[in-house]
């Protein structure tokens, strides 16, 4: 198995942000337990990229397979954010959809999606958009079958575009400081609305608007991790154990929660205003907090934990 021999891996020392998709999967799972489906030796590559004179990847930028997590069987998908921004192409998307559909038969304890994506791959946009829709549908089916789908977000590409939509359909999300979750990315907003609306080069603005801490504080993510593979492993195990029911009551609560969010924060001009309204005493201090101080802050914010995202 090509993946099993990728360079690795002490989960405590390995930075999630710096690691490749293969390193993340191998270090996240119980040692030696990862088995890859459609490994690089199968050469399932994009049929579209050569038309654009662009290089392909043997795995089309996503690693999928089965593994054990603390002895429990799980299915895992990991996007490689450095290959074309982790974007969804035809093969890439088909591998994720296939994995989710297999979950209905294999009935694992959970499906883990290690997001690292800018969204749809523009060179194969129709196939990519279809893949986003099929993935969301497949996640709904998996959750309806009682299997939690957990998203882990802390890669350099963040989780944007269709990836952000898919993340919204997961049972639970864990995010690190480096992770970002949104639909339109900073450059997209700036291009369409101007730098006065959103300056994509203002990194502090980007992180406090889309970053892991903000998403955790408003309840968009359910766990905040330090940037190590072992922290994400711990978070994944915790989140599998407290995945919400997937029923009408949860969805109605989610709708009500989103309506109250826009009513409560709709006039805020900056994330720090939202944090202040949430009851964070020193909202300006949030970006510099370490994980422990931030966890304490989160524990005092009622909206941060809610079954509806």
């Amino acid at each position: 198995m090509a993946g099993a021999h990728a360079a690795s891996t002490d989960p405590d020392a390995l930075s999630w942000y710096e690691a490749t998709a293969r390193q993340r999967v191998v270090a996240l799972a119980d040692p030696g337990s990862f088995q890859e489906f459609l490994p690089p030796t199968e050469r399932r590559m994009s049929p579209h990229l050569p038309l654009f004179d662009l290089p392909r990847a043997f795995d089309d930028g996503i690693v999928v397979g089965r593994a054990a997590l603390d002895g429990k069987p799980v299915l895992v998908a990991a996007q490689e954010g450095r290959f074309m921004g982790g974007a969804f192409g035809e093969i890439h998307g088909a591998k994720l959809v296939g994995l989710l559909r297999a979950a209905l038969t294999l009935k694992p304890a959970a499906v883990l999606i290690l997001f690292d994506t800018g969204g749809v791959r523009l060179q194969e946009a129709n196939a990519g958009e279809t893949a986003i829709a099929e993935t969301m549908r497949a996640i709904v089916d998996v959750r309806a079958a009682g299997i939690p789908v957990i998203g882990l977000i802390g890669g350099r590409a963040g989780c944007y575009g269709g990836g952000g939509l898919i993340a919204g359909t997961c049972s639970r999300l864990a995010v690190s400081e480096g992770g970002r979750i949104s639909v339109s990315g900073p450059e997209v907003i700036e291009t369409n609305k101007g730098a006065e609306e959103f300056d994509s080069r203002d990194r502090a603005l980007v992180w406090r608007t889309m970053g892991g801490k903000h998403r955790r504080l408003i309840g968009g993510a359910d766990a905040f991790c330090t940037d190590s593979v072992s922290a994400f492993r711990e978070a994944a195990l915790d989140l599998i154990g407290r995945a919400p029911a997937f029923d009408l009551a949860t969805l109605e609560a989610e709708q009500a929660r989103l309506e109250s969010r826009i009513a409560r924060f709709g006039d805020c001009r900056d994330a720090t205003e939202i944090w202040a309204r949430l009851g964070v005493n020193d909202s300006e201090a949030v970006p510099a907090m370490d994980t422990r101080a931030f966890d304490e802050t989160v524990s005092r914010v009622r909206e941060a934990d809610h079954d509806a995202r």
Partner: protein, 102 residues
Amino acid sequence: MESLTFRHTTQKPLPGSVPNAITGVVASGNLEILLERVLPPDACEVAIETPIAGYGPVWEAVVADFVARAQPGGLRISINDGGARPDTVSLRLLQGARLMEA
């Protein structure tokens, strides 16, 4: 895209029994290398796909240097290049051979 293939005869097989390995990522200035132990023990083949055309002689020299140093007999090596510099290519090839020896 330019496709290049180089075939070499080695004096000995690469030690170890790992059947295949992959290293690197197709990204700007980087490349991925897939190694498979599928050839006769004195043969090595390196196939390259690169979007940067016109560097055949450089690839040829880097591959010949790698084969002389690592003696990677038995390996079929497939490369997806993202525009890596020759020193990066050389390091990745040696890294890949090391993974196969493990």
